[in-house]
Amino acid sequence: MIVSMTLELKDIPGQLVLALAPISELHGNIMSVVHQHEEKTPRGTIPVQITFEIDQEVLNDLIERLEESGVKVARVGEERLRSSVSVVLIGHIIHSDIGDTIDKIDSTGFAEVVDLSLSMPAIEKTSSAYLVINAVGEKELKKALELLRDVANKKDLLMIEPIMLNSVTS
């Protein structure tokens, strides 16, 4: 899961390392650190926003380790829907119930259709749709795409996915 945390550090040297070390000890992957030394809290501590990817199971352990070393954990939040993909669908999109197609993605709990544009040239002609799907992570995004592929197949829709960019083998 991807977690964003606000930590409060004492204004003495060596505190940032103290805050980051437990994350890497627990095999977390730090994605961003925002450290604003000049913006102190009313308590005189320095707030730091950290975003990282980590196993959900070790999250409590991490918070404990941070608190033990004197780092205050002010806020913990899960970052949702970090990954995004665009697809185009062609076929009888409306007649094959686009609402149902979107529901199939949204009901997964880990992915949502966040954008939809439709183009319908004439009643008897096939229509085209552009969809953006967001998901909590790359793995979930792949699952959502598989689901949509399956739906498109059943509803006889042509689904155009993006090229695989830097992961040809995956």
Binding site: S86, V87, V88, I90, G91, S117, S119, M120, P121, K125, T126, S127, S128, A129, Y130, L158, I160, E161, P162, I163, M164, L165, N166, V168, T169
Partner: protein, 332 residues
Amino acid sequence: MKTISLSIIGFGAVGQGVASSILTKQNYLKEQGFNLRVVAISDSKGSEVNPEGIDIERALKRKNQEGTIAKSNQKALDIIREVEHEIVVEATPTNIKDGEPGISNMLGAFNSGRHVVTSNKGPLVLRFLELKEAAEDNGVMFRYEATVGGAVPIFNLIHEALSGNTVIGIEGILNGTTNYILTRMAEERMPYEIVMKEAQELGIAETDPSYDVEGIDSACKLVIIANSIFGQNATYRDVNVTGITKITPEALELASKNNYVVKLVCEAGKGHLTVAPRLVPKRHPLSVGGTLNVASILTDLAGRITISGKGAGSVETASSILSDILYIIKNS
């Protein structure tokens, strides 16, 4: 000066392109120390054989005027077996049903101890491994740069310039006809049927375009790539193929508004071969227009390498064939 004799089997657009390139590049080649002597040319109606070297200019003229090269009715396979020469340029048309007459010509050449340079996909799609082994068993070379990507040197790039790299995957646009159709549909907002008609009038698409637009041609090229680069023994049936016939101008417009173009993309990774329309970001190197071909190769050391160029045309294809001929001369 190294004098090399060769035969041109199949004298359509590609065969004539090879002949005229050898003719126009004669002085250039001699400066490099190579004398290419064409000792036999054969088409579907007959052949011309001259161990001293055929007058290429006259041969091209005769083909143009009479529709055939035929001076005698000596058969291609007999020429391959009996006329003394080093390299067979196999340029008969692609036949993906049984690979003939390409397969017999190639096997005949190998068994007679002659190298083969070809533009003919059929045999490589159907019996790649067998042909490769026949060449190896006879101690001769088998070169097929012209089968994929026309003038674009995909195999040379990977096997020579990138040797030492492990290829992780390849993505490419390997069919100029579909690329032209999708590019025109997107640019002019015209439906598939009208653009297809235009492409047929321009000679870019065949009268029966199904081989191109249903992705069969692309799939065949992907099979050759998989076999040559990943050492597989893949055939057409191993490729997951979707063509472009269902694509609407509206779909292309929606994609374009979101900074994508739609291309018929071939993808090869270990154990996965797909031809399908894909969304390509407009500024991605794969986003090439018109009839251009492009291949993007992902490797472990060099990272991503992308090359593009003309994927068809008689002289363009001859460029790849000539390059293979010279490779053989330099390395044999």
